[in-house]
Symmetry: C2
Subunit: 206 residues, 2 copies
């Protein structure tokens, strides 16, 4: 694996952020958080449930063009839920009303500076149907090439990596790449009818 891009020479994704303030919260820019009392259609009993109203999400499995190595693009960034850095595929949040396919192309460009020549929909998943109302949409981006600098939010600090297919599989097997939505995207990729042909193409170029 090799680093394709990073914020600054001194950037260390393992360096922890410092807590300035910790507040019990209600709404955030990520979701609206509700407690709902509902009545069962079967028992007539009432129970309380948690509901997070979330925007749609996208995740992108992106491979560079064969002439560029046919490598998987990965993003290493600090994640504040686990207070540690992760390796992930490209991902992000759809803007209100934004088509998920356009959000996928936008996130690929913003997070890696790459654009894809070919796009394939890999379906979608329910990130957590017990409490969240949204879906995460999966896309395969093929023949990616660098076309621009990274364009990140001020709070986003990340490094872009390129990994061979075998390196990516090792990251999944070892658990080093362990984000549930990334794993779900790879399951959809491996079940996609075109995966066998793509795997042969990627291995032939490696």
């Amino acid at each position: 694996m090799r680093i394709l891009a990073q914020l600054s020479p001194g950037f260390d994704p393992a360096a922890p952020w410092l807590d300035c303030e910790v507040l019990a919260a209600r709404d955030t820019r990520l979701f609206e958080h509700y407690k709902v009392r509902r009545r069962s259609p079967h028992t007539g009993q009432e129970h309380d449930f948690t509901r997070l109203i979330c925007p749609e999400w996208v995740n992108v499995v992106a491979f560079t063009a064969p002439a560029l190595g046919g490598e998987l693009l990965l993003v290493e960034q600090f994640r504040h839920g686990i207070d540690a850095s992760t390796l992930e595929i490209i991902g992000g949040v759809c803007s209100p009303g934004e088509d998920p396919a356009l959000a996928a192309a936008r996130e690929l460009l913003e997070e890696t500076g790459h654009a894809a020549a070919r796009w394939v929909s890999l379906g979608s998943c329910s990130p957590n149907p017990a409490v969240q109302n949204n879906r995460c949409h999966f896309f395969l981006a093929l023949d990616c090439a660098p076309v621009a600098d990274l364009a990140l939010d001020p709070s986003e600090e990340l490094r872009v990596w390129a990994a061979s297919l075998d390196e990516a599989l090792d990251l999944l097997r070892s658990g080093a790449m362990d984000h549930a939505l990334v794993m779900a995207a790879f399951l959809r990729l491996f079940l996609w009818p075109g995966w066998g042909d793509l795997e042969r193409t990627l291995r032939a170029g490696a």
Copy 2:
């Protein structure tokens, strides 16, 4: 696929619950919700982040014994995040201090009435490292057999199904089984070194 167990003869997992009350919430029994202001070690800038402090979760891929059909145990239940029913593998929340392996066996028993003769750890994932601090632990339960009645919380209403391996793969391919954590569990199963042998055993018994 065939139904193994359900709450009552009139139980319909597609029947919607009725909202009695909807409140903007803060803490629930599922997680504590915080807004955290943190300072970057790289830029010195402060930014706000959402954090959900969650208990550990478990998911179980459970197959019945060959003599019972070597079928996958699935749970169909109403999910209040998406306000619809889902098909999922067995899953649940660890009690405080509970070993995930024991929680897996407890959930298998409570949700399906089955016990397993053999257990394999399939690793774990980070359900959402951007905002959640917990992990979901995956287990493979083999040679399962019914040993007890279901033991559900009053708010849990579900049907237990048994599916052949091919039916389970079709559910994943078609997107009918689309819970991200269920998909991540199957990715871990398919990357597990023993999967090839298990697949042959399950197909030989089918």
